[in-house]
Symmetry: C2
């Protein structure tokens, strides 16, 4: 009895696959500062929990495959407020942004097709491409350039006849990049010229730390019919555990195919949708305060990293991650060593090894992704421990 | 811009795709008795909602990709009580039984592989096979035989070199069949002889209305390493909207592949797992009372159907569905007609057209699946309206 090659070649999550090492470390009584996963310590707005307490139905029934209308209407309202007018039919509720991504890649690609993805990218993109037996064509971006895109003519050369879509996160996970107006035009030109679908993962939309306003792909008129936005309440409202996301598109054919995917799994969880609908009533002041908090954390983490000899990183403009190149032989080995062999006063740090964030072999081997999802004090301690760890690590390359 | 053939050929759910017609009908003020979907009106045990009220964490965080240990331990305990000893590592929590099925089929099959499935079957099986670009080899069973299996040598002839797994539900959805000990041995022989994985969807395990005890495939020693059980709290505890299921297997390789699938989508919703863990503390008296209630409903629906001229159906032994052959030209047309054109005192009935429950072309065209998930009084009314509808329907074949 053998199992599918597709499942065997499915990449394990670099964010989650070191979790067993961490469980052992915790079992030894060591405290771990978790920089490896985008799990904020920010409080979920209380509206979520209050709305569940008010839920009065005595049978917890299936919802609509499209998603509950109460939630969909709130999402429509939210998009209206940010200047993207939508109708109910433009939205399908999903089990987190993850399921939305999975459906979008599956709808874009048949086996052997390919998608163009700026690398480093969120590793689930590679997993969902792999499940769709589709290839990733990486557009390599570099820490030295703040992970901004190469010129359009260079990207243009990468596109193949098999290419069906461009997939990117904006603001970028793990890079923190926020694209310039010119970059957004370049991507739009490429999508239009090559007749590609653009899948824009905008779950970090509220986490931008620049003076210029953030430009959603949803506002680009020329993309109107070829755009799919992946969205989620996870990061916006610090509600990752609700697993409520959505697909947003004005392309009717795409949405009718996506609805079949939604039907195949029944519905998203009913109560979580009730809670998510309530989250959209959170006052803007919450999002503004959270934005300020992350901006402060970014500065703390970035300044701390800058003080460590041999580290290369640029100040990210959005999201809540920093990618950094470490002066070590192998970032994964280093992180496992930090978990197994190193501690300062019974405390250590966990980050994500970044090799799995790249499709180009060999890239990212000495890089890590860190999420600045801890409070100021913990973040300072974590950077200090990281600095000590690098200094003590036997595989240092500096 | 064109979309994937895989998504375009994905079958729409016959259970859910008539929902837009039903929404129009309800908008006209007509009450619909919903026999089309396995959504019980039974109350969810209050423990579910109570446990959520006690949830004290102020941040709704991601859970473990494996599933929360609190829930996994309850599932281990439950299986121990029904005579199937398991360890934590034999369980992965999923987004409903649906996700468990999707993962299992994907792990079993590469493109071009096939799975053997008794038909009629739960339509999501066809959807997940289609997503995995795998074929279904149907083992046709008939209402006249109570949907019991043909002899082993006939099934044996259907198995191809590309066949990787047998997938079945037991008790059967939509058939209500409960396999005899001999049938279970036949399936076991086939799995062992042809080195196949057996994916047993046992979500209706508690809904058996026979005197002989129900035999789970989990108790068959010879299947030990080649068995995957798909399970869920949806039907057991009338908590379909929680979307919490699980994969159960002692095959380590299968489970390590399944964990990668679980990691790719992060985790199942945190609060729903808290609630599901509480459900497993429901006293056995709840399940016994629910079993008695469904048994009564089965008898009411079956007796009612038996009184309608030209209907063919046999009394089901388990689950909460009845498949019936109607004296109509086309069951889907008939159901749409019932929604659009027919009503008795402002009330009508909805069922699922059964063609999508078959892989063999042409089968099931005049059949419907009904779920006896309504209370006694409503069920009696629903059968009465159905009888009147059949009598008034212009496409009658009797």
């Amino acid at each position: 009895m053998s199992f599918s090659e597709r499942s065997r070649s499915l990449p394990a999550s670099p964010i989650r696959r070191l979790e067993p090492f961490a469980e052992e470390t915790r079992a030894r009584g060591i405290r771990i500062y978790p920089l490896h996963i985008g799990q904020p310590d920010i409080e979920t707005p209380g509206l979520f929990f209050e709305s569940l307490r008010k839920f009065s139905s005595r049978t917890l029934a299936y919802g609509r495959s499209h998603g509950e209308l109460g939630l969909i209407d709130k999402i429509v309202e939210y998009y209206g407020k940010i200047g993207i007018p939508l109708e109910r039919e433009n939205i399908l509720v999903t089990n987190g942004g993850s399921e939305a991504l999975n459906f979008a890649v599956n709808i874009a690609c048949d086996p052997g097709d390919s998608i163009l993805v700026p690398e480093p990218f969120y590793p689930a993109y590679a997993a969902f491409a792999s499940l769709a037996t589709a290839g990733i064509i990486p557009v390599t971006t570099r820490a030295e350039d703040g992970f901004h895109l190469p010129p359009g003519n260079e990207i243009n050369k990468l596109i193949k006849p098999s290419t069906r879509a461009i997939l990117l996160s904006h603001p970028g996970n793990p890079t923190g990049v926020v694209y310039t107006k010119k970059e957004i035009e370049t991507i739009t030109d490429l999508a239009v010229e090559h007749d590609l679908l653009l899948i824009a993962d905008e779950v970090y939309r509220e986490f931008v730390y620049m003076d210029e306003p953030y430009l959603s792909f949803g506002k680009v008129d020329r993309l109107r019919d070829r755009l799919v936005i992946v969205d989620s309440v996870s990061k916006r409202y610090s509600a990752c555990g609700a697993r409520i996301g959505c697909l947003v598109s004005r392309n009717r054919e795409f949405m009718s195919l996506a609805l079949k995917h939604c039907q195949s799994r029944g519905s998203s969880p009913t109560l979580e949708q009730v809670g998510a609908a309530a989250l959209y009533e959170t006052p803007d002041s919450y999002l503004e305060a959270v934005n300020q908090e992350y901006r402060k954390r970014r500065d703390i983490l970035f300044d701390g990293l800058n003080g460590i000899p041999g580290i290369i990183c640029k100040k990210p403009e959005g999201a809540f991650y920093i990618m950094a190149k470490l002066p070590v032989d192998d970032a994964e080995k280093f992180i496992i060593w930090m978990l197994q062999e190193f501690a300062v006063n019974g405390e250590t740090v966990m980050a994500s090894p970044a090799e799995g964030f790249y499709a180009t072999p060999g890239l990212g081997k000495s890089e890590i992704r860190m999420a600045y999802v801890l409070n100021e004090e913990d973040l300072k301690k974590a950077v200090g421990i990281l600095a000590n760890g690098i200094s003590a690590y036997p595989g240092k390359t500096l």
